[in-house]
């Protein structure tokens, strides 16, 4: 919402406050200030096009000589977006400067020519001034004039109003809150009195409200004999400053009063409302407005030239033949006022915010009116706003009031709820020490009614425009914000610590990430969705994938059931910038759908890219071993396919290791091998052992013996080592020392170190030798392996 300070000044005097301070105060206590727009910082001038030439080397570009005041001539290159001709006077940004949109304008070369500025379109001015998209000035203007100042822009505050504060969506409403904040006097809006001359009343308008529940109030009034022209300068300037495009004086007046008071208003062309047929088939002369809900399949062609299919049950303003307007959102093209309109019906109504919000969402249509209706409108202002706009129109367009004021008030009157305020609770919640006098003063400034008062409690009624104040806590916020959030001194909490959550998964996850990182792996984070084409890569069936109802696009429409597709994306991002090993991992949630239930699990996945396949296996295995080691947890690798193995813990599969098919690793110039692993961390965390108990340190020394075996056939080293440990309980550990393979197809020479230890005595040489012999024989006889 744009607040021109000049307009604000009509209701509250803040002239003495420097604009930066004003903006800061507002942002602390009222709402966020997105921007202070100050026209003088933008060097945008009225310039005249003196000549235009097409640039031969370019399809779209032209070069113009433009006079920008003081006989200064600039070369400016511009495209074909707007029809510009010699003699046109348009806004010209003179380099170097910036535009209100933040765009920087510098001198620059385009198609071999130097451009010393830019012709500025409305959108780049941050305004909405002309129909063509670029404003044109008349010959009477002075060349070189600052365009924004010429358009009447003094300083403007651009505010972001939170959805609870509908009452701030008007200049008056905002001024009201600001005056309460500063304790300044508010120049109150006074409802004008209108002249009703009975001889002008035509008695040919009827209004019927068919739906009580969705219309809180409907007031209307007819004016005849107007001449709809262009609005006066002062009004145009204020509208433009507030971000609205002047259209014609009737429409401008309705917009003006909406901006001023916050009540959306609409004007219908009376003559475009159908006459009711009388009994004898002749026209009755009476035109009727009906407020009703839409039936199935109704449409409207709106003022914005779009045709909307209306959801059933939306509120519309209609006559008995056609829809005149979609309530609270937009008028129909056919019922709108034009320059030829002489009789109008003005509408000032309050519609049910939920209905408006539902229709707005269904149509994807948000208007200045709908935003205000959704945030609720002061029910006390409807008729005042109607009188205000009628008065303005008669002042500008002439005409006479030709109907009574219709005021249909639905009597499901909100029982005014009083709020019991307790000073003790305020101080207990805020952690400060307010006195009842300070509270009273603040509430008084905010126009709360205090109906009963004791030493420590107040009975209060909030003002009619504050729909957001329903509870005592809402009142607390009012008091603290006006007093100043930053006047509350910070403290640190006392009180007991909670002992109820003892969840160390976060730190375990961190430890695992640290292990991977220490081993040279880089952690990645990817989006939680992928495209249907990536389902195949995940090796999890399409039925087990969760689909999003409203994805941003098809390529992000499936929730990930595997971290692999994301990892591959990260891999490809780096594949040719890293020429040696590449190790990436990600820890994140995956989503699996079974029987319409979604299960969410925490996984770690990693992919390693290494030239030599054995090295690749070792790399991956090291990480897995270290992760399980963190939990003192035993696991088994069970290879089922030639390129894939399962990781089992307590005979449950909790992960996999697989060699990725080269078709998944795209455009790797080095043709490296890729191995992928994944472990279900939720499972791993659940299987955590209880606290480790101390195990005695063996008092007798261990003895190592190395053996090198030649593996020339299909044999799993993992299983071999497992078997080995079962031969004798004095074999404490078997460690892999080295794998040597001259060439891919050569046999592997594998050196194992066997550690013998007896917990009851020192092993003799003979005992070790006998055991080691058994081991060697086991290799030879059971596995038919050669020993080196």
């Amino acid at each position: 919402m744009k607040i021109p300070l000049e307009w604000l000044g009509q209701f509250v005097n803040v002239k003495e406050i420097p604009i930066k301070k004003l903006a800061e105060d507002i942002s602390l206590a009222i709402c966020e200030v997105e921007e202070i727009i100050n026209p003088t910082v933008f060097d945008i001038r009225i310039g005249e096009i003196k000549s235009i030439k097409k640039i031969a080397s370019s399809k779209k570009l032209n070069i113009a000589k433009v006079e920008v005041g003081n006989k200064q001539l600039l070369n400016i290159i511009f495209g074909d977006w707007f029809p510009i001709k010699k003699g046109d006077r348009v806004p010209v940004a003179v380099a170097p400067t910036i535009l209100p949109t933040g765009m920087k304008i510098k001198k620059k070369e385009l198609a071999g020519f130097l451009s010393e500025g830019m012709l500025v379109a409305d959108s780049e001015l941050g305004l909405n001034v002309s129909k063509e998209g670029i404003i044109r000035f008349t010959k009477s203007t002075k060349l070189g004039t600052n365009v924004l100042q010429f358009l009447g822009l003094a300083e403007i505050l651009d505010l972001k109003i939170t959805p609870n504060r509908g009452d701030l969506l008007s200049i008056y409403g905002f001024a009201r809150d600001l005056s309460a904040f500063y304790g300044h006097k508010l120049n109150r809006f006074i409802t004008p009195s209108l002249n009703f001359d009975h001889k002008h009343l035509t008695h040919n308008l009827s209004i019927k409200v068919d739906i009580e529940s969705a219309v809180k109030r409907y007031s209307a009034l007819k004016i005849s004999g107007i001449k709809n022209t262009i609005s006066p300068d002062w009004m145009q300037k204020r509208l433009i400053s507030a971000g609205m495009r002047p259209i014609n004086s009737v429409v401008d007046c309705t917009n003006y009063v909406m901006l001023e008071l916050g009540q959306p208003l609409h004007a219908f062309d009376f003559e475009k409302i159908s006459e009711i047929d009388s009994d004898r088939g002749q026209t009755s002369g009476i035109r009727e407005i009906i407020i009703r809900r839409t039936k199935n399949d109704e449409t409207i062609t709106a003022l914005d030239e779009n045709k909307y299919n209306l959801p059933t049950g939306s509120i519309v303003i209609a006559d008995y033949k056609k829809i005149l307007a979609l309530a609270g959102l937009i008028g129909s093209k056919d019922s709108g006022v034009t320059e030829n309109t002489t009789q109008i019906v003005l509408e000032s109504a309050i519609f049910n915010p939920i209905n408006i919000s539902q229709t707005s969402k269904a149509l994807g249509l948000v208007t200045d009116a709908s935003q205000r209706f959704e945030r609720e409108i002061d029910s006390e202002i409807t008729v005042s706003a109607l009188k205000r706009v009628a008065g303005l129109i008669i002042e500008i367009c002439g005409g006479k009031i030709s109907s009574e004021i219709f005021d249909h008030k639905i009597s499901h009157k909100k029982i005014i709820e009083k709020i019991i305020f307790s000073l003790d609770r305020l101080n207990k919640v805020s952690g400060t020490n307010f006195s009842i006098n300070v509270v009273e003063k603040i509430l008084h400034r905010l126009e709360f009614q205090i109906i009963k008062k004791t030493k420590k409690t107040l009975e209060i009624i909030p003002p009619s425009w504050r729909y957001d104040i329903n509870l005592e806590e809402d009142v607390f916020e009012e008091i603290i914000r006006i007093y100043g959030y930053n006047h509350v001194s910070p403290t640190l909490p006392s009180g007991e610590l909670s002992l109820s959550i003892n969840n160390n998964n976060f730190s375990l996850e961190n430890k695992i990430a640290q292990i991977c990182s220490n081993l040279g792996w880089n952690e990645t984070q990817t989006f939680s969705f992928y495209s249907p084409s990536e389902i195949k890569i995940s090796k999890i069936s399409a039925e087990n994938h969760v689909k999003l109802q409203n994805p941003l696009g098809p390529e992000t429409s499936i929730l990930r059931a595997s971290l692999l597709p994301g990892l591959l994306k990260s891999l490809h991002k780096n594949i040719n910038s890293t020429l040696s090993d590449l190790s990436l991992f990600e820890i994140g949630h995956i989503f699996i759908k079974t029987n319409e239930k979604i299960s969410e699990q925490l996984y770690i996945s990693g992919v390693n890219l290494t030239a030599n396949l054995n090295d690749c296996v070792l790399h991956v295995r090291l990480v897995i071993d270290q992760i399980f080691n963190l939990f003192n947890s035993h696991f088994i690798i069970n290879q089922k396919l030639s390129t894939q193995a399962e990781i089992l813990q307590k005979s449950k599969v909790i992960g996999t290791i697989s060699i990725l098919d080269s078709s998944l690793v795209l455009s790797d110039r080095q043709k490296r091998n890729a191995i992928y692993f994944e472990i279900n961390l939720d499972e791993l965390f659940n299987n955590q052992l209880a606290t480790n108990l101390f195990q005695e340190i063996p008092p007798y020394p261990s003895v190592n013996r190395d053996v090198t075996i030649i593996i020339d056939k299909k044999i799993y080293l993992g299983d071999l080592i497992d078997d080995l440990q079962k031969i004798d309980d004095k074999i404490r550990k078997v460690e892999l020392q080295d794998i040597y393979q001259k060439d891919k197809n050569d046999p592997k020479a594998v050196t194992l170190r066997i550690i013998y230890q007896d917990k009851d005595k020192t092993l003799t040489d003979e005992e070790v030798m006998t055991m080691h012999e058994t081991v060697i024989n086991n290799f030879k006889n059971e596995h038919h392996l050669k020993i080196k």
Binding site: A29, P163, Q549, T556
Partner: protein
Amino acid sequence: MKQLLDQIKQIKQKVKDDLKSKLSADEIKNKYLSRKGKLNNILKNLKNFSADEKKIIGQEANNLKQFIQQEIRKLENKNLSNVNFHDLTIPSTETFFGSIHPIRSMQTELVNIFSKIGFDIASGPEVETDWYNFEALNIGKNHPARADQDSFYIDETHLLRTQTSSVQLRVLENIKPPIRIIAPGRIFRRDSVDATHTPTFHQIEGIIVDENITFADLKGILTYAARQIFSSQTQTRFRISYFPFVEPGAEMDVSCPFCVNINTHCSVCKNSKWIEILGCGVVHPKVLKNAHIDPKKYQGIAFGMGIERPFMIKHQIPSIKLFYENDLIFLSQFK
């Protein structure tokens, strides 16, 4: 100032020339680094410059000093005897080092800060029900606040959570006050990718429920956290804001850690001196009621902050996209 910087450059060139003409280590030391050496001559003029200029010149002079010292060391090394020679300068052959993703680093940093003042860690699912993500937090079906958080829906009742506040109710329902928890996690909003938006990002939520926890405590805790994250000099300010699940509601700004000099343009805070960092407030009584906690007996404070944003501010990262593109050149800058 430029003159002085040029002189520094010239000295560097002279040192190189002297090295070529085989001056000894002592000679170079004398010529450049002694009390009456060339470098000191330059530094003598330093007092005539502004603080900012001193900083720049000082930096350059220091670089030069280090360069000269290293060259002197190399010369001296050459004179070591060849007997019993061992090379201790051999680098590691590791071609790259691993790294922790910046999001995790920031998450851990924040968790550690809040752990120090007694917060436990809680978590919740990323696929959430409408109840926990919206309704229970006082955001009804037609609440305008829903429009600000465009969500990804899975079906009528399930969506990808739009805020870690969804963990609030899950915790409040399950444990009895006093409650003091934080919940870091991934959240989702239906935003197209640009420099400040990604459809996936991260937040950390905090909530305390106790008999006497106050708005003043909220300010104290968050000011403490801000100083831990940025610096002990960091100032905070609290502004009015609106989140349906807190009342009073606020946003916290921290003083811009980068614009020390008032006269230069600051690209981080756009010269406002403040950076918006989080939303917070006193837990709305409806939220407590929804969790069957008596709002007359207990009160709560809560806050939620982004993970990527403070990291971006601290490290001056220009685009949030970088976090999810996983370029190793980006990732390996942070450990």
